[in-house]
């Protein structure tokens, strides 16, 4: 399945199908680079460098389901990926390690569980404390993760995954302001700003899509915003491109380019100049129509 640190996204989906219990599959949606690589498998081929299958548990706010899913996987022999020791009942949730589990008999990938937060309250979402046999773990739920539940796609293996347009929208909204936060884990051997990695992902998705696909993102985005944020959507729509525009003038654009070239766009030979042109196209094709609707609302 893997060569030179890369995995074939289709093969990884097939393994998830085989190795996860069927009823659990009904409650998870794959997001992140694996979902993107699967959607654009023709272009990406075997080139995605991730061992991380981010699984969002739905419906929103279903902590019990998350606990049950993790517990059942552990019962079936899935092993905790311990980057740090689990906490106790008194550990603040934000200090708890995330739930990361290896399959019973190999380390070729691991799953990480995420949760869709309920409601549309702005700001960072508190992690939810979950008790597992080994101790307490945290279940993260990001502010805009709910968007990835809209327009979900179903792969050939029957596994659901987030549509690239929705992952792009969630990333854009998460970084409308460029806040300094260097990621703790290096990306392709370099420590990079979180916003550069996430906004770079938006550009990678746009590069893998056709111009027509990116133009079609705008109506999808508006629908998703109105669905997930019925009161906040005009403000969110009106500011959706602020971070990407700022990135074009930011020194960390080069980091975004680096993340693309060691990630989804590896081996495609995309230059920084080309990536900047793609950013301008995304702004014109998808962002500006959505911002206009936000301003008009």
């Amino acid at each position: 399945m893997s060569s030179a640190g890369t995995v074939d996204p289709r093969a990884l989906f097939a393994r998830l199908r085989r190795e996860l219990p069927g009823d659990i599959l009904d409650h998870i949606v794959v997001v992140g680079s694996l979902a993107a690589a699967y959607h654009y498998a023709e272009q990406v081929g075997r080139g995605v460098k991730t061992k991380d299958a981010d699984l969002v548990i739905h419906p929103a706010g279903h902590t019990v389901a998350a606990q049950e899913i993790a517990g059942r996987l552990i019962q079936r022999g899935w092993r905790e990926k311990r980057d740090r020791e689990p906490g106790t009942a008194s550990t603040p949730p934000a200090d708890l390690p995330a739930i990361r589990l290896y399959p019973p008999d190999h380390d070729e990938y691991f799953v990480e569980l995420l949760m869709v937060p309920q409601g549309e309250t702005p700001g960072a979402k508190p992690w939810v404390s979950v008790e597992l046999p080994g101790g307490y773990y945290g279940l993260p739920g990001f502010e805009f993760l709910a968007l990835t539940m809209i327009d979900r796609q179903r792969g050939a293996d029957g596994i659901e995954y987030a549509h690239p347009a929705m992952m792009a929208l969630a990333n854009l909204l998460s970084h409308r302001e460029l806040r300094h936060h260097v990621m703790s884990a290096p990306v392709g051997g370099r420590l990079v700003e979180r916003y550069a990695k996430d906004l770079g992902r938006v550009l990678a998705l746009a590069r893998l899509a056709s111009r027509e696909d990116v133009e079609a993102w705008a109506p999808r985005w508006l629908f998703a915003l109105q669905e997930c944020f019925p009161t906040r959507w005009p403000e969110l729509a009106a500011s959706v491109g602020a971070g990407l525009r700022a990135l074009l003038d930011d020194a960390a654009f080069e980091e975004a380019w680096h993340c693309c070239n060691v990630g989804l766009l590896a081996n495609m030979g995309v230059t920084e100049t080309q990536l900047r042109a793609i950013a301008r196209q995304v702004i014109a094709d998808a962002i500006e129509p959505v911002e206009a609707r936000g301003h008009d609302a």
Partner: protein
């Protein structure tokens, strides 16, 4: 300053400088209608060539050349079987003064048929004047060329579709697409690039619509095949023909010049024959 004047000034300058300084100085000057390279060393000539190529691709706003407009209007009418045109109307359409129109008509010589009612028409295809225009076209046609900087390759057909969705005013489809409009039987495969004619009666070509059309389009570096080429139409009347409800067509002469620029000479000749065959 003329090229000759520049050479004289340069020679004078070198005489007042210390020899070790003068020996190190070089001059490359790309003028409106000449190039001066002193001394004429190959590497300096290469620089001059590159500067000339770049300046040819940039929109030029100074000294718009309208000297061929009389011939172009008459040729367009001849190709489209439009008959004679009053000199006053010719003056209005070209935006030229009466003396300029008279001078241009005189230059066309016996190719022009003049009537007592002060109307004129071409008798035949003005081969000599046309050859002169084709040869000078890179210089007299105000041109701007663009490439797609996104690395997606750029699809001329898609670009044309985007243009038709939000057609800018004063812009007509030219080149290969217009050639097919004027003669559907033309032997032309594919679409190498999009050619547009931009009406610029005031001399300056407005290229702002290009960034709205596709923000990945940037001026083409020398030697790079462009995806989009704009040519200014500097006369008072654009003579654009009504198009398919979105964009008009450039007149046949603009189209012919584009075909020559694309080195589609046979197709250009076929287009002339086809238009003259069809009344």
């Amino acid at each position: 300053m003329s090229a000759e004047g520049l050479r004289e000034e340069w020679a004078r300058l070198l005489t007042v400088l210390a020899p070790d300084v003068a020996d190190r100085l070089r001059l490359v000057a790309v003028l409106e209608d000449d190039v001066v390279v002193l001394p004429a060393e190959p590497w300096l000539c290469e620089i001059a060539d590159r500067v000339t190529s770049v300046s040819r691709l940039q929109p030029r706003t100074a000294r718009v050349d309208r000297s061929f407009e009389v011939m172009r209007v008459l040729l367009s009418r001849w190709l489209l079987h439009r008959g004679r045109i009053a000199v006053g109307e010719l003056q209005r359409q070209t935006g030229l003064s009466h003396p300029s129109v008279s001078k241009a008509l005189a230059a066309l010589g016996p190719a022009v048929e003049r009537r007592r009612d002060r109307s004129v028409a071409l008798r035949a295809f003005p081969s000599e004047a046309w050859a002169q225009l084709v040869a000078l076209a890179p210089k007299v046609r105000q041109t701007a060329a663009f490439v797609d900087e996104s690395g997606r390759g750029g699809d001329p057909q898609r670009l044309l579709e985007r243009l038709r969705r939000a057609p800018p005013s004063g812009v007509a489809v030219a080149g290969v697409v217009a050639a097919r409009h004027w003669h559907s039987g033309l032997d032309l495969e594919g679409l190498p690039r999009v050619d547009l004619s931009v009406h610029a009666p005031d001399g300056g070509m407005d290229t702002a619509f290009v960034a709205r059309l596709d923000p990945a389009l940037v001026p083409a570096p020398p030697g790079t095949p462009p995806l989009l080429v704009l040519h200014a139409v500097p006369r008072a009347e654009s003579l654009f023909a009504p198009g398919d409800a979105t964009l008009p067509w450039a007149d046949p002469v603009e189209t012919l010049l584009d075909l020559h620029e694309l080195r589609l000479i046979e197709q250009a000749d076929d287009l002339v024959r086809a238009l003259r065959r069809t009344p």
